[in-house]
């Protein structure tokens, strides 16, 4: 029975000590499952697999437009989830966002010989943000919930542009062609959507 198993996994894998109890959102089933995967619990991994397989394979098929390649990529994404679970920090990103960035990187890398460049904090050129106050930290943790709400209340024309960008991995030029609008309109809808999102969030860096 899945609910019983989930409760057991949540009990088995409480948040690590560095996740402060003041976290703005309660831990969800997916958070506990990923923490379980980090502890090399195969039953937690099996459950995460069941919960995300359908969404990931549909998402990756939208990007590759090829069934076999999407299946192979889905397996690749789960391998990366297994290998990187110990880097997951539920106070920094929601499970959905963490899994999304892994899937996005895997799908970009799939078409390239070299992996996508990632800004690297160990780079001598790196510029750090100024330290945050504890209020700001709490505000950041609530972002994921608010982002979802903001996405649901976007005007349909703006939401459609974002769906083409994220779900179908289309560039501004491609979205313009698909929707029969100008690239300028795609860019302005993107800008408006992000501005709206920013207003919905409690905090912005100086």
């Amino acid at each position: 029975m899945i609910p019983t198993r989930r409760t057991r996994i949540q009990r088995l894998y409480p948040p690590p000590r560095w996740v402060e109890p003041r976290a703005g959102r309660p831990l969800r089933a997916d958070d506990s499952l990923i923490l379980g995967v980090a502890a090399r619990d195969r039953s937690a991994f099996a459950e995460l697999y069941q919960r995300w397989f359908g969404r990931l394979s549909a998402f990756l098929r939208g990007r590759t437009r090829d069934r076999a390649a999407a299946d192979e990529l889905t397996q690749e994404v789960f391998l990366r989830i297994w290998r990187r679970a110990n880097t997951y920090n539920p106070s920094r990103a929601s499970a959905a966002t963490w899994i999304y960035t892994i899937a996005r990187n895997a799908s970009v890398d799939h078409h390239r010989k070299t992996s996508r460049p990632a800004p690297d904090p160990t780079d001598p050129a790196w510029v750090s943000a100024s330290p945050l106050s504890s209020d700001e930290i709490v505000a950041r943790r609530e972002d994921a919930e608010r982002v979802r709400d903001a996405l649901d209340t976007l005007p349909p024309a703006q939401a459609e542009v974002l769906r083409h960008a994220y779900y179908h991995q289309r560039s501004s030029t491609e979205i313009a062609a698909v929707l029969g609008i100008s690239t300028g309109t795609v860019k302005s809808r993107t800008r408006l959507a992000l501005a709206r999102l920013r207003r919905a969030l409690p905090w912005e860096p100086a």
Binding site: P117, D120, V147, S172, P205
Partner: protein, 216 residues
């Protein structure tokens, strides 16, 4: 110091969605290394991606046996990630140094008086991505752009009609801007990444002819 001229929203979303061409990715990654503000914007934009994935239709359930097939591969060694090249001088972010090597080893080629450059071997839909070095205090000849130009200052800086650009600043110039007039800051040579969609046309006909003859 943090940059004050940032990436446009369409670039933030394209980065988060993974839809950029590789040359733009090099420029964006370099800016993100230098700009905490845009890194925060990207994190928000990635949360949108997470929300979209969370809402995705569950088209299939996992085929029988596919989890076991996955577990059989679980100990496979991971494909080596592309090794990152750090520039010990801190001038060039790793995304740039990957193609040019560290700043002190860059093989500059003469492009014009007081202007040197090197082309980065990275696929792009427009003209090649270039790292350029312009002498301190140099005034570039008045010019137009046949396509958009995106510049990223990595050292020194310049002023033009649109503002003052220093390390980390992204300077995006629209082809509508006629008579682009850039004057380099005098403190040090200016190092910048430049990506053009179309050729640059000097106003002075003699310079235009010289540029054609020299192929620069």
């Amino acid at each position: 110091m943090s940059p004050t001229h940032h990436l446009p929203a369409s670039w933030i979303v394209a980065w988060a969605a993974g839809t950029m061409d590789p040359a733009r990715e090099v420029l964006a990654a370099a800016h993100l290394t230098l700009c905490p503000h845009c890194r925060y914007e990207v994190r928000q934009a990635e949360q949108l991606g997470g929300a979209v994935l969370d809402r995705a239709i569950r088209a299939d359930t996992a085929p029988a046996g596919s989890f076991d097939a996955l577990m059989a591969r679980i100990d496979e060694p991971e494909r080596e990630p592309t090794r990152s090249t750090h520039d010990p001088s801190g001038v060039l972010p790793a995304s740039v140094a990957r193609y040019t090597g560290p700043y002190n080893d860059v093989r500059w080629r003469w492009l014009a008086p007081r202007v040197h450059g090197v082309t980065l071997d990275v696929p792009t839909s427009g003209l090649p991505l270039r790292l350029i070095r312009i002498a301190a205090g140099h005034r570039l000849p008045l010019h137009d752009h046949a396509g958009a130009e995106r510049g990223l200052v990595l050292r020194g800086g310049w002023r033009d009609q649109t503002g003052h650009y220093r390390r980390g600043d992204a300077c995006f110039v629209d082809p509508d801007l006629k008579g682009h007039e850039q004057v380099m800051d005098t403190d040090t040579d200016c190092i910048a990444l430049v990506l053009n969609d179309g050729p640059i046309e000097a106003h002075n006909p003699i310079l235009r002819l010289a540029a054609r003859l020299l192929g620069v």
